[in-house]
Amino acid sequence: MKNNGDGFNKDNFKRLVDGELPWEEVKKVIRMDPKDANRFEKYIEILQEKVTWDDRILLRISDHLYIVLKDDDNRIVKCDCGYELGDYRVNWKLNCRVYVRDTDEAIAEVITVPEARHNTELVEMREFYCPGCLALLGVEVVPQGYPPIFEMFPDLDSFYREWLNDPLPDENPEWFEDKTIEQTAKWAKEV
């Protein structure tokens, strides 16, 4: 399918986002050449219409989570339920509720083929829930003691300035500095 300028229309895009676009239609989108240049703008528009709050979405980082511009000078992670998980430079998992499956019985609830379960002597399964809506946001299968994995840390300023030609108003090199350890340092003082 050649891009005729309009490209991928918004209604079909919404259906794709909702998991309702038939596979035959999805294949046409896969074959688009070139892809629609304004895809990201349309995406943000659709997502902004879906959420119930007004903060500007800068980036969607998972099914439920968004990096939003808060009060014009802060960038935080926010769940679509409205719960705020803090500075986006801190691994959002550290602001979740956590449940650890570290026994065969607990793993059996989610892996029902017994032979296919993990060796719980070596690894545990961690689940990270949104404290607001309790949606399961992330799953890790890691050895005990493994630092929670900071799955994605976007370089938002480069993205908006260099790739979208639309620089963000609050550009600052500090926005691309991982601050996770600052949060654990604060917690350590309470220990």
Binding site: A116, N119, L122
Partner: protein, 732 residues
């Protein structure tokens, strides 16, 4: 006087290629694509002629091979490289090997092959030694120079995965080998033929140093025939287009496609850092005994990675924190890493008019010296480093899927997990005939993981291998005469669950049939009981573990004689045994590599792999998808209830009210049994300070903390005192 253009030496033109790229950022310093711009139609015709020639060579040559992996599973490739070693075009097949050829040519240039043994028209060169470019010794390269008017203009290259490498275990995928001397037949770059023919002595090496002489000799002839025919086709193309056009056109292909790849990343991804982790294991403890004391231990392999999508559209993959090199089979070198991981890049963004070396010009790697993919011991075992590298294919699938998802290109997401199963076999039949072989069918024919808008398709793709087809069972049975398939099927519930679940894993069950004097099987299950990935996607669960089951002393022959059906996979083995219908002297379940297992007539051997992860929260899965799962027997009623919170009635319909209520209770349960991250962190930190972990975990941390990046992350996360230390292997 060199053999290359205007008397340059091979070493000089390879160095010049690197200088031009370093100084300009463009392949061969090409700021302008003159041939492309002047006549794009002619250029396309030129490029397609090169591709067609490679495919033609592959399709003709493979009929010479007797190796099922080449004939029916696509484990071969024919390539055309320019004089500098960049692959310009290739057949379909084992596409990743394009990444290795530039390293091989650079190595023979630096070894002064031009002076000794010399590089002349009709010469044939061979190599499978990973130190010089090939990824492991099962992947055998054969190549030939193409001269035009006395100057080297190209190389034609053939490659395939052979059945047996002559290592301490049968097959080409050994999972025990402490060093290069136990890896099997490994040859550095060697001139093995002249005047378009292999030397006779070369054939003797295959006969004396590997178990499957017939397959391997024929495979060698296949590669030599393919590169010779490609050589002749290329000379015709040069005659048609002119040698200047030919030389310049090859360079423009690389530069044009480098630009396409960079542009694709910039237009579909989001710059930033993306993390990846997969775990696996090498379990030698108790297997190697006193003969190799440094190998008589287990390793938990830490496959960490960070994909940096840089603002200029290029990629840097940082492996700092990867497990250190060891006296095991799983070390590797940079070409192997680039080779196999490119199989995650082709489908995600690196698809162009042809597959070629352009990826090398926009991907960088940090592989710390001393890590298992940059070993400093020249005798490091590498026979199955690819088994560990394979996990990194999925770094690209998963990290780029995340990036494309964030950018709004949901249709381009293609997450995947690293799963695989396979086995090698060797035996002596009753009449004294010695044979060996291997089967990689469970590396192929894998399901897709769930993505943001639909479930993973079942048995639809194969990332580590280009042929998604599992191959013909009849061919496998013909070549592995003791292995009779009782079943090959998808296994219900065997997937990572999620709002969109992963596709189901596939399993086979074989009966050992008249093994004769002896039969040894050794198998592997790539996930090593630690899951298909350490990270689920967006709340989905990662794929479940690969499995190998051996059942000895069975009554299966009686069952086959008397019953109308019989078990077909490992789940059915369990069920038949629970019902008392199948009896067995012993059942051994492995979730990783197995030792060498002696087999007897009527033993059962089951293997299953390819369970892929889900996307999103399973409690958000739509009821109609569950009904479909139940109708097709993909998901059992029990699993729909315990994992998805969905009650299905006897008619296969969802009881909506009861399911709504059950899901409400499951959400409440999440609240009840979870804790605030801060409290969990305090609890976990205490455990880190106590270090009361399994010794394999402790050894893994002790090793990875030698690398600053992981050390900073670990110490920072748990706020550890400076004098915190985890004793390493045998340090306690």
């Amino acid at each position: 006087m060199g053999i290359c253009i205007q008397g340059s030496t091979l070493k000089e033109i390879v160095a010049e290629r690197e200088r031009l790229f370093a100084e300009t950022g463009c392949a061969y310093g090409l700021k302008k694509l003159e041939l492309v711009e002047k006549d794009p139609a002619k250029f396309m015709r030129f490029q397609m002629r090169l591709v067609a020639s490679c495919i033609n060579s592959r399709e003709s040559a493979k009929l010479i091979s007797a190796n099922p992996m080449s004939m029916v599973q696509g484990e071969l490739l024919f390539m055309l490289a320019n004089a500098e070693g960049d692959v310009i075009s290739a057949s379909y097949g084992l596409a990743g090997h394009i990444q290795c050829m530039p390293f091989i040519i650079k190595n023979i240039a630096e070894l002064d092959f031009e002076d000794n043994p010399g590089i002349e028209k009709g010469d044939i060169f061979s190599c499978n030694d990973p130190m010089y470019g090939p990824p492991h010794n099962a992947d055998c390269y054969t190549w030939m120079p193409v001269f035009y008017e006395g100057e080297l203009v190209s190389w034609t290259v053939g490659l395939n995965h052979i059945v047996d490498v002559g290592g301490i275990q049968p097959g080409g995928l050994g999972v025990v080998s402490p060093n290069i001397f136990t890896d099997g037949f490994t040859y550095p770059p060697t001139k093995t033929g002249a005047n378009f023919k292999q030397h006779k002595w070369w054939e003797l090496h295959w006969k004396r140093r590997t178990r499957t002489e017939m397959f391997n000799v024929l495979d060698d002839k296949m590669r030599a025939a393919g590169i010779t025919s490609l050589h002749d086709r290329i000379l015709e193309i040069i005659d048609e287009f002119g040698v200047d056009y030919y030389r310049q056109g090859m360079k423009e292909i690389i530069e044009r496609e480098r630009r396409i790849l960079v542009e694709r990343i910039k237009s579909q991804a989001v710059p930033g850092k993306y993390r990846y982790l997969q775990l696996s294991a090498v379990n030698y403890k108790g297997t190697l005994g006193k003969l190799w004391p440094n190998s008589n231990r287990n390793w938990l392999i830490h496959k960490t990675g960070e994909l940096n999508i840089r603002p200029d559209g290029t990629l840097l993959t940082d492996l700092e924190g990867l497990t250190s090199e060891g006296e095991f089979h799983a070390n590797a070198y940079e070409p192997a890493v680039r080779m196999l991981t490119s199989l995650g890049m082709w489908p995600m963004f690196a698809y162009t008019e042809t597959i070629n070396s352009s990826l090398l010009y926009m991907t960088d790697w940090n592989i710390p010296p001393g890590s298992m993919f940059n070993p400093q011991n020249p005798y490091a075992g590498t026979v199955m480093g690819l088994g560990v590298i394979a996990g990194y294919i999925f770094l690209f699938h998963n990290c780029l899927s995340q990036a494309f998802f964030s950018r709004g290109f949901l249709e381009e997401t293609f997450p995947a997990d690293g799963t695989a199963g396979g086995y090698g076999a060797a035996g002596t039949l009753e009449d004294g005939f010695q044979w060996a072989g291997g089967d990689m069918s469970l590396i192929t024919c894998q399901s897709q993981a769930g993505n943001p808008f639909h479930d993973g398709f079942d048995s639809s793709v194969c990332s580590p291998n280009p042929a998604s087809d599992i191959g013909e069972t009849e061919v496998v049975e013909f070549l592995l005469p003791t292995q009779v398939h009782l079943g090959k099927k998808l296994i219900p519930d065997y997937c990572g669950h999620g709002k969109f679940r992963g596709g189901l894993g596939i399993g086979t069950l074989q009966m050992v049939n008249k093994p004769g004097r002896s039969l040894i099987l050794n198998a592997f299950a790539a996930t090593d009981s630690m899951g298909a990935c350490a990270m689920g996607r967006n709340g989905g669960y990662p794929g479940a573990n690969d499995i190998v089951v051996f059942v000895n002393d069975t009554n299966i022959r009686e069952i086959i004689e008397k019953e109308s059906d019989y078990p077909r996979d490992f789940v059915e083995i369990r069920e038949w045994m629970e019902e008392g219908k199948l009896t067995a002297g012993d059942v051994q379940i492995y979730k990783g590599p197995t030792p060498s297992i002696p087999c007897r007539d009527g033993d059962l051997f089951a293997i299953a792999a390819g369970s892929k992860g889900g996307w999103g929260d399973a409690l958000e899965r739509k009821y109609e998808l569950i009904e479909n799962d139940i109708e097709l027997d993909w998901i059992t009623r029990e699993t729909s209830k315990t994992v998805y919170g969905v009650i299905v009635n006897d008619e296969g319909k969802v009881d909506k009210d009861a399911s709504d209520q059950l899901r409400k209770e499951m959400f409440e349960k999440r609240l009840e049994r979870s804790m605030d991250a801060k409290d969990w962190w305090k609890q976990e930190r205490d455990k880190v300070l106590e270090k009361g972990w399994h010794e394999d975990v402790k050894n893994m941390y002790a090793d990875c903390l030698k690398y600053n990046k992981f050390k900073n992350e670990f110490f920072g996360m748990w706020q550890l005192p400076d004098d915190y230390r985890i004793p390493g292997y045998k340090e306690e």
